[in-house]
Symmetry: C2
Amino acid sequence: MKLAFIGLGVMGYPMAGHLVRAGHDVTVYNRTAARADAWVSEYGGRAAVTPAAAAEGADIVFCCVGNDNDVRQVIAGENGAFQGMKPGAILVDHTTASADVARELAAAGAAHGLSFLDGPVSGGEAGAVNGKLTIMLGGDEDAFDRVKDVMAAYGRAVTLMGPVGSGQLTKMVNQICIAGVVQGLAEALNFAQRAGIDGNKAVDVISKGAAQSWQMENRSSTMLAGKFDFGFAVDWMRKDIAICMAEASRNGAALPMTGLVDQFYERIQGRGGSRWDTSSLIDLLQRP
Amino acid sequence: MKLAFIGLGVMGYPMAGHLVRAGHDVTVYNRTAARADAWVSEYGGRAAVTPAAAAEGADIVFCCVGNDNDVRQVIAGENGAFQGMKPGAILVDHTTASADVARELAAAGAAHGLSFLDGPVSGGEAGAVNGKLTIMLGGDEDAFDRVKDVMAAYGRAVTLMGPVGSGQLTKMVNQICIAGVVQGLAEALNFAQRAGIDGNKAVDVISKGAAQSWQMENRSSTMLAGKFDFGFAVDWMRKDIAICMAEASRNGAALPMTGLVDQFYERIQGRGGSRWDTSSLIDLLQRP
């Protein structure tokens, strides 16, 4: 199938590569052209100079960029994907962005005879590289049915959650859960250290029961060792929490713990931890 | 082996029963004598009129009561277990209590030639009934080696965490993790409902990734349905958090999220939810 991929960041680069390996004809666009050239050298395919040019003739255009404004620009802005797409084509946005921007772009696309699906992912860089992302989508069932098999190239679980925006809302549910789990784990492991308990041994014992979590199984030992130079960065988490907060202010959901954790992440940014993994919440407790 | 079990509550009743089924000679004591009689009718064994009488001649005395003061009374008080125990016998306290009371009772026991292990459990009523509790212990390795096989009657994982008090401290680590996980899940599921997302479907998707937790897999559907008449009661969780807070004030660990969640549980008590499951945190968000 003829495809385009816009945005070759940590996630987009390997995702677009999986599409080539699955046998598709892929044209990419990246703001920094050198990275697009490197991608072409690695995977084949072609690089275009604008999102519109990349999208020309494509059946499906994928996008994975930074935030709401980036999404608006590369999709609906000047020389954006919508300007190049043929009628009936589908745009799938993998950026974690607001549900509002998803609804806005779906309406703009519909005016041009184009379909739009919001499809944020979870699974991180490792999931993108291994092709095992979880993809939660919002949009029309027809459009979803036409893209889901293509996304299987990098998605282990590909689920239509509801109308446009539902993918983003589900990703927000995910991030709110993570905020609570990581803060609880940080307080617990710092407590263990100060109480003279072997944190790794405690985790071995309690991870068999009601305190168990993916974060406990995958982040405890690095938290205890003070290693945060990997994973999902604090800056990205704050961007996602801001999206949750904005949506919550519309739908009336209270997020007291999430708001508290956001303040902690702000303090981590203030001590130079913008690129640290989200598990760095423990650093604030260890060095208040 | 000749054993005693003091405290036939929701946990102790089935735990003591497992000891009989494993072939031991068990004498029980319970403050409300009728419940001890019911236990004898169900399992055989004998009931004694005081903890001291129950403990007479026993190689190991188990205890599972309510709080620090209950523990002090039935073990070291008048007609407490220590008064009946023979030199060289071991007391294992399964109550979730403070590390301080564990150290205090270990010292008092040592003065009489008795060993003391703190051994709080996790796994809840179901774990006690099915004999699949996780038991985290603090105390001497010699004493641990002499009791661990006996506890296998109701413990799936039986671990010595360190010196006396270490079992209690590990249980606190467990409860702090749970506070964060449950509050995150409550905020996330309430957010999902207000955003018009199918919460159960969202959980199916996100439980494959970094937001996954035991609480998500075992409590989401009941939280979404508003069912809280089961599980680990808010009153018990507040008792445990109070123990964590007191210990943290000694060891200097900050527990900002745990303290916030404790305030939420206090509000749940205020609306009549003292016996609701800990997952009832979502009720405060749904009906603020």
